[in-house]
C-alpha cells in the first residue's frame, strides 16, 4: 500500500512493516516493486525500466565528485520574503517547511570539489526546495559560485534542476536572471570554462539565463529541457506535443546541447571534458 508519493515524482514508497523508512518503492513508470537500497545503489534509475528519478543536491554532489573532495562555500545572507508574499501559505512558512524537509537553507548548494582530480567550482540546484526555483538567494549563490570560479580559475560546473524563477519573489526573482548572467560575464572575462549539466527539470528562467550560456552543455538522460512547461504549451497554443518533446534527445537533435549522458556515466563524461580543457602545467 503506497503511503506517500515521494517528491522525486514517479515512484511511490511502499510500507511493508511498521513506521520506519519504507524498504520498498514502486516505480510509477513500470509498476515494478524495487528494494529501495537497490534503487539508491542504481543512483535512482529504475533497474527494470530505466526511468529516472531526480537526485537531491547532496546526492548529486556525491555522485559526481571525488570522495570527500566537496567543500561547501558560505553564502551571503539576503533579505527573506522581500514582497511579504502569501498565497494559501505564507512564503515564510513555505521556506521554513522546505528547509525542514530538505535540510538545506536554500535551493542551491555551491562549493569547491574535484572531479577525477580536476578542481572545479560546483553549483547544484535541488528540485525539492520549492521546485529548485531561483529567487534572490539562489541568484546570489550562483553569482558567488561564478565569482569564486573566476577568482580561483577553476572550471565552473552548474547542475540545473529547476522549474524557473521563484514566483513568490516577483520581479526580484525575474531579475536574478540578469544577475547570474553578470556572473557568467565574470567567467568569460577571466577565460574560465563553464560546463552546464541539464537534468530534470531545466526550464523557465534558469534555462533562459545561465542554463543556456555554457561553453559545454551536457544533458542527463531523463532530463526535461524547455522554456515553457508542456502543460503551458498545450493550454496556450492547443498544439499537440510531439513524442519525445523536450527530452534530452530532443535537445540534442535540435542543437541545444553537446551530448546526452546516462546518469551512471556523467562523472566520467565531465572528467573527459575537464581533461581536454585542463591548462598545460
Amino acid at each position: 500500500m503506497p503511503i506517500r508519493k515521494d517528491k522525486r515524482e514517479r515512484y511511490v514508497e511502499v510500507e511493508v512493516s511498521g513506521p520506519r523508512e519504507p524498504l520498498w518503492v514502486r516505480c510509477e513508470a513500470c509498476g515494478e516493486l524495487i528494494f529501495k537500497r537497490k534503487l539508491q545503489e542504481n543512483q535512482y534509475v529504475c533497474p527494470r525500466c530505466g526511468a529516472y528519478f531526480f537526485l537531491s543536491a547532496r546526492e548529486r554532489i556525491v555522485s559526481l565528485v571525488d570522495p570527500e573532495s566537496f567543500r561547501e562555500l558560505p553564502l551571503p545572507a539576503v533579505p527573506e520574503d522581500p514582497l511579504g508574499f502569501a498565497d494559501q501559505m505564507s512564503y515564510r512558512e513555505r521556506l521554513a517547511r522546505s528547509r525542514q524537509e530538505t535540510g538545506l537553507n536554500e535551493a542551491a548548494v555551491v562549493g569547491e570539489a574535484r572531479i577525477a582530480d580536476h578542481p572545479v567550482t560546483l553549483a547544484v540546484l535541488d528540485f525539492r526546495f520549492i521546485g529548485g526555483s531561483m529567487g534572490v538567494a539562489v541568484g546570489e549563490a550562483l553569482y558567488a559560485a561564478q565569482a569564486h570560479a573566476a577568482r580561483a580559475r577553476t572550471p565552473f560546473v552548474f547542475v540545473v534542476s529547476s522549474g524557473g524563477a521563484r514566483v513568490q519573489e516577483g520581479v526580484l526573482a525575474l531579475l536574478q536572471m540578469v544577475k547570474v548572467v553578470a556572473g557568467r560575464e565574470l567567467l568569460a572575462q577571466n577565460g574560465v570554462p563553464y560546463i552546464a549539466v541539464l537534468t530534470y527539470p531545466s526550464t523557465g528562467g534558469v534555462l533562459a539565463s545561465l542554463g543556456s550560456l555554457a561553453d559545454v552543455t551536457l544533458a542527463e538522460e531523463g532530463a526535461l529541457i524547455g522554456f515553457a512547461g508542456p502543460r503551458v504549451i498545450e493550454q496556450t497554443t492547443g498544439e499537440r506535443l510531439p513524442p519525445g518533446f523536450q527530452t534530452a534527445r530532443f535537445a540534442l537533435e535540435h542543437g541545444l546541447v553537446d551530448q546526452v549522458v546516462p546518469r551512471a556515466k556523467l562523472r566520467e563524461e565531465l572528467a573527459k571534458v575537464l581533461e581536454v580543457l585542463a591548462e598545460e602545467p
Partner: protein
C-alpha cells in the same frame, strides 16, 4: 452608465461651456468651476487609486499606445531591420535603426498589432525564438556602431510553442540578456504595457528601466500565479496585488528608475501626450548616460544587476 462614461460626458460638457464662454463672452466661471471639481474628483476616484488588477487591465488594452504606431510617432526616423538570419522573422518583436531627438540609436519593440489579422500574426505580442534571435542580432548591430539601445516592452511573455522550443527560445532570451548587459553604449528600457516574464527581461537588462504609470512587470501573469499557487484562476486580482507588479510598487522596491505619468484615464486616452512623456524621459536619461565613460557605464550597469534584490533588511 459606467464611471468612465460619466467622466466622458462631464468632460464634453465642460468643453462646451468653455467654447460658449469664449465665443459669446459669457461668464460661466462658476459653472465651470463646479464641473471641473466634479471631473477632478471622478478622475481621482477612477484612476489614482487603481488596484493592481485594474492596472493589469489598462496595460493589456488593445488600444494602448505601443508597437509600430508608437515608434513612428516617437522617432523622427525609423528604418526597420528584419529577420534573425537563421530561421525567419517575427512580427511580434521588431526593431531597427532610428533617430530620436536628433540622435542615432537602435530600437527594439514588441508589436501586438492593431487589427485582428496583425494580432493573430504577432500572437498578441508573444515573440518566438526568431524574435529574440533577431533582437540579439540588432543589439550586435548597435554594439558594432556604438549606438545606444532603446527597448519598448509590451508583451504577455515569450510564445510557448513547439517551434519556439525547437529553435531554442530559452537560449535566445539568455543571449539577449548577456548581449544587452555587455552593450558598449547607453541602454534604456521602457515598459509601455505588459512586461511579461522572460519575454520582457530579455529586453530589460538596461542602464535605466522606466515604466509607464499603468504598465506592469511581472515574473508570471496574475492568472498563472493564481492557478499555480492558489489552484484557482479566479483569484488573479489577489495574485496581481501580491506580485507587486505595478510601476509604483516596483519603483518603491528600487527595481525601476522612474514612473512616467500617464494622462488621467490611462495612456489610451491621449496617444500623443503618452508619446511625448516617454520621449522626454528617454532623452533625459540618454543625455545623462552619454556623460559617462564606457568604463563607468558598464561598471554601473554591472553593479546594478549584480546586487539586485540583495540589499535591504536582513542583508
Amino acid at each position: 452608465m459606467t464611471d468612465e462614461e460619466r467622466l466622458k460626458v462631464l468632460e464634453e460638457k465642460a468643453a462646451e461651456l468653455r467654447r460658449l464662454a469664449e465665443q459669446d463672452g459669457l461668464d460661466l466661471h462658476e459653472e465651470l468651476a463646479v464641473l471641473e471639481r466634479k471631473i477632478a474628483e471622478l478622475r481621482k476616484q477612477l484612476y489614482l487609486d487603481l488596484s493592481a488588477w485594474a492596472r493589469v487591465q489598462l496595460a493589456r488594452r488593445p488600444d494602448r499606445p505601443s508597437g509600430l504606431p508608437f515608434v513612428q510617432a516617437l522617432c523622427e526616423a525609423f528604418y526597420e531591420l528584419r529577420g534573425d538570419r537563421v530561421v525567419g522573422d517575427d512580427p511580434a518583436l521588431r526593431g531597427g535603426l532610428a533617430r530620436l531627438g536628433g540622435k542615432r540609436l537602435v530600437l527594439l519593440f514588441h508589436h501586438r498589432g492593431a487589427t485582428p489579422e496583425e494580432q493573430r500574426a504577432s500572437r498578441f505580442g508573444m515573440a518566438s525564438a526568431q524574435g529574440y534571435w533577431k533582437a540579439k542580432r540588432l543589439m550586435e548591430v548597435a554594439a558594432r556602431l556604438r549606438l545606444p539601445l532603446l527597448t519598448l516592452i509590451n508583451t504577455p511573455g515569450a510564445y510557448p510553442g513547439v517551434q519556439a522550443e525547437a529553435h531554442n527560445v530559452a537560449g535566445a532570451i539568455a543571449a539577449c540578456i548577456w548581449t544587452m548587459l555587455r552593450h558598449p553604449a547607453p541602454t534604456v528600457a521602457v515598459i509601455l504595457g505588459e512586461g511579461g516574464s522572460g519575454g520582457a527581461v530579455a529586453l530589460a537588462a538596461a542602464d535605466r528601466v522606466l515604466m509607464l504609470e499603468n504598465a506592469t512587470y511581472s515574473v508570471i501573469s496574475p492568472e498563472g500565479a493564481a492557478s499555480i499557487l492558489w489552484k484557482d484562476a479566479k483569484v488573479a486580482p489577489k495574485a496581481a496585488e501580491a506580485l507587486k507588479l505595478t510601476a509604483h510598487d516596483l519603483h518603491e522596491l528600487g527595481v525601476i528608475d522612474e514612473v512616467i505619468p500617464e494622462p488621467l484615464g490611462g495612456a489610451h486616452t491621449d496617444f500623443s501626450a503618452t508619446v511625448d512623456g516617454v520621449r522626454r524621459a528617454v532623452l533625459r536619461y540618454l543625455e545623462e548616460l552619454s556623460r559617462l565613460s564606457l568604463d563607468e557605464l558598464l561598471r554601473a550597469r554591472y553593479n546594478r544587476y549584480r546586487h539586485v534584490g540583495a540589499q535591504g533588511p536582513g542583508a
